[in-house]
C-alpha cells in the first residue's frame, strides 16, 4: 500500500515538475503576453477567472459537503436544452433581443427545481432517476432544437467553454453573482451549515429547510450558467467539485473550506490560462486538468503525511 502511494506520488511529482518546467519557460511568454496592450483579452480572462473562483469555491463547498455534485451535473447539462430552445425561438420568430443566456438560466432553474424537489424526504429514492432524466433529456432537447434551427451553430463553446471569449457583460454578471453569493452565505452561514449537516434536525428547530435548499440550488444553477462561459457545460461540474474537494483535505470548517477552495480554483484557472496560452491548447480542458492534477497531488501529499504521522 505504502509503495503504491509513494510510486503514485513520485509519478505525480515528476509530472508536476515537468509542468512547472514548461511553465517556467512559458511563464516568460505568458507574462510578456499579459503586459502586451494588444492582449487585453488575456487580462480580461484572468480577471474573470479570479471572480469566477469566488463562486466556484463557495458554491463548490456546498456541492461537496451536501454531496450534490451529480445534481449540479444534471443542472449544467440541461442548460443545453435552454440554449437550443432560445436559439430556435430567436431564429424562427426573429427575436433579436433574445439571448441564449436567458434560455440557459431558465433551463437551469427549472431543472434545479425538479431535481431539488426529489432531493430529500420521502422522495429521496427517486432523486437519482430525476437526475439522470434531467441530465439526458436536457441535452437531447438542446440538440433537437439546434437541428430544427436553420443555419449553423458551433456548440463547442457552450460544451467546453472559452474563457478567452468572455465579454465585459459576462464579467459584470459574474461579479454580481459573487456579491449575491457572498452576502447570502454571510447572512445564513450557520443555518445553511445546519441544514447541510442535519436537515431533519434543522427542520425540527423550525428552519425553513425546503426554502433554503431551493435557494441554495437556485444559486448553484445561476452559478453553473454563468460559469459555463469559462469551462463549458460538460466540465463545469469539475470546477464545482475539484477545488472544494481539494480544500476538504486540509480544513475542518466550512468557511476554511470555502477560502481554500477559492485559492485552489484561482491556481487552476491561472495555471490553465498560462499553460493553454503558451502551449496553444484549449483553455477549458487545461483548467480542468490543472484542477484534477492539483487534487490528486494534494491527496497524495496528505496521504503521505498521514502515513508518516502514523509511523
Amino acid at each position: 500500500m505504502i509503495t503504491v502511494v509513494i510510486t503514485l506520488a513520485t509519478a505525480i511529482t515528476t509530472h508536476f515538475q515537468t509542468i512547472s518546467k514548461i511553465n517556467n519557460i512559458s511563464n516568460m511568454i505568458f507574462l510578456n503576453a499579459l503586459t502586451d496592450p494588444n492582449n487585453l483579452f488575456l487580462r480580461h480572462a484572468l480577471l474573470v477567472g479570479l471572480f469566477a473562483s469566488i463562486a466556484f469555491g463557495i458554491i463548490g463547498t456546498y456541492v461537496i459537503s451536501r454531496r450534490i455534485s451529480y445534481l449540479a451535473g444534471a443542472v449544467s447539462h440541461s442548460v443545453l436544452g435552454g440554449i437550443g430552445g432560445v436559439l430556435w425561438l430567436k431564429t424562427i420568430f426573429q427575436l433579436e433581443w433574445l439571448d441564449p443566456l436567458y434560455g440557459a438560466l431558465l433551463a437551469a432553474l427549472i431543472s434545479a427545481f425538479i431535481v431539488g424537489h426529489f432531493g430529500h424526504g420521502a422522495e429521496k429514492k427517486r432523486e437519482e432517476i430525476m437526475i439522470g432524466a434531467t441530465w439526458a433529456i436536457g441535452m437531447a432537447l438542446g440538440v433537437i432544437f439546434m437541428d430544427l434551427t436553420p443555419g449553423y451553430f458551433d456548440i463547442t463553446s457552450y460544451l467546453f467553454g472559452d474563457i478567452l471569449l468572455v465579454s465585459s457583460r459576462d464579467l459584470i454578471l459574474i461579479v454580481a453573482l459573487d456579491i449575491v453569493i457572498v452576502l447570502f452565505v454571510l447572512r445564513f452561514y450557520h443555518k445553511l451549515m445546519a441544514i447541510c449537516f442535519d436537515e431533519e434536525f434543522a427542520r425540527l428547530r423550525g428552519l425553513k429547510v425546503d426554502l433554503f435548499y431551493q435557494l441554495l440550488l437556485g444559486l448553484t444553477a445561476v452559478s453553473v450558467v454563468l460559469l459555463i462561459r469559462i469551462v463549458g457545460i460538460v466540465m463545469v461540474i469539475a470546477m464545482l467539485t475539484l477545488p472544494a474537494a481539494t480544500a476538504s483535505l486540509y480544513t475542518r470548517t466550512l468557511s476554511g473550506m470555502m477560502l481554500l477552495a477559492i485559492l485552489f480554483s484561482v491556481i487552476a484557472i491561472i495555471g490553465g490560462i498560462g499553460v493553454s496560452y503558451s502551449a496553444n491548447l484549449s483553455t477549458g480542458p487545461i483548467i480542468i486538468v490543472c484542477a484534477g492534477v492539483l487534487y490528486f497531488f494534494m491527496a497524495a501529499l496528505k496521504k503521505m503525511s498521514n502515513q508518516r504521522n502514523n509511523g
Binding site: S65, K191, M193, F197, F201, A202, L207, S248
Partner: protein, 263 residues
C-alpha cells in the same frame, strides 16, 4: 405542575410505510418526569415511533399529542438526538457548531446572523454536562463514535428541552461512557421527561423507570407470528433483566398502555 396533562399521548395510532404496517393500534401515555425506554427488535418501529412523536412522520390514523399540542407545535420544547450513523462523518464542522444547532432558530442576531451569547453559554454548559466541555473546538469528524453520540446528546440539551428523545444513545458506547451516560440521564431526569430507544436491555434495566415494548404487527408476512416468546428469543436471557411492569398482549403488537410510574 400540570401533572394531569401527559407529556406524550398517542391514541389508537396506525402507521404504515409503502403498505408495510409498521405500527398498529398504538396507545401510549408518557407522564411528566418519566424516564422511559422503548425496546424491541430491529425494524420493530422504534425509530418510527419517535419520528411520529416529533411530527416528522404523519400517522395514517389516530393522533399524537405532545404537551397537549400537535407535534409540529411542540417541537421547540423537545430535544432530539438521532442515531449518529445517519450523519455524514466527513462533514467539516466543529463540535461547538454541532451543539449550537440545538438553538439554530435563534441564530439571527445582526445582519450576519450570529448566536445570542446566552445560546453560546447554553451550548458550552450542555457540552460540559455530557463531559466533553474541553472538546468544543475539535472537529466533529475527529471524534470517536461514543464521543459523537454524546455531542449529539449535548445538541439536544442545548435546545433546553422539557422532553428529551434519544434514539439509541448507547450504541457505539464503551462501558465506562455508558456508566457516565447512566448518571447523566438520571441527573437530567430530575428536570425533564426522557424517552429513549434502546436495544441494550442491560442498560435499560439499570436506568429507566418503565419499558415500552414496540413491535410492529406484521400482516404482510403471516409466517412471522411475532409474540412475546419471539421477543424473548431475540433478546435471550437479557430480556429477564427488564422489569415487567408493562403489559404485553398475546399477539405482541405495539401495545402501549399508560405505565404506572413505578415506586
Amino acid at each position: 405542575m400540570d401533572s394531569e396533562l401527559p407529556v406524550i399521548k398517542i391514541n389508537n395510532l396506525n402507521f404504515s410505510y409503502h403498505n408495510n404496517v409498521v405500527l398498529e393500534s398504538v396507545n401510549l401515555e408518557i407522564r411528566k418526569g418519566e424516564l422511559a425506554s422503548i425496546v424491541g427488535p430491529n425494524g420493530g418501529g422504534k425509530t418510527t415511533l419517535l419520528k411520529l412523536i416529533l411530527g416528522l412522520l404523519q400517522p395514517n390514523s389516530g393522533n399524537v399529542e405532545v404537551f397537549g399540542l400537535p407535534p409540529e407545535k411542540a417541537r421547540q420544547r423537545i430535544g432530539y438526538m438521532p442515531q449518529h450513523a445517519q450523519l455524514d462523518p466527513q462533514f467539516p464542522i466543529s463540535v461547538l457548531d454541532v451543539v449550537l444547532m440545538g438553538q439554530i432558530e435563534r441564530c439571527d442576531r445582526g445582519f450576519f446572523g450570529g448566536f445570542p451569547s446566552q445560546v453560546k453559554i447554553t451550548a458550552q454548559d450542555s457540552l460540559a454536562e455530557v463531559g466533553l466541555g474541553d472538546l468544543s473546538r475539535k472537529s466533529f469528524n475527529e471524534l470517536s463514535g461514543g464521543q459523537r453520540q454524546r455531542v449529539l446528546i449535548a445538541r439536544a440539551l442545548c435546545s433546553e428541552p422539557e422532553l428529551l428523545l434519544l434514539d439509541e444513545p448507547t450504541s457505539n458506547i464503551d462501558p465506562r461512557s455508558e456508566e457516565n451516560l447512566y448518571e447523566t440521564l438520571t441527573k437530567l431526569n430530575q428536570h425533564m421527561t426522557i424517552l429513549l430507544v434502546s436495544h441494550d436491555l442491560g442498560f435499560v434495566s439499570q436506568v429507566v423507570k418503565s419499558v415500552i415494548c414496540v413491535n410492529r404487527q406484521v400482516i404482510i408476512h403471516p409466517t412471522s407470528q411475532i409474540n412475546g416468546t419471539i421477543i424473548k428469543e431475540i433478546y435471550g436471557g437479557d430480556f429477564n433483566l427488564v422489569r415487567h411492569d408493562h403489559r404485553c398482549d398475546h399477539t405482541g403488537h405495539s401495545h402501549h398502555d399508560p405505565f404506572s410510574n413505578n415506586q
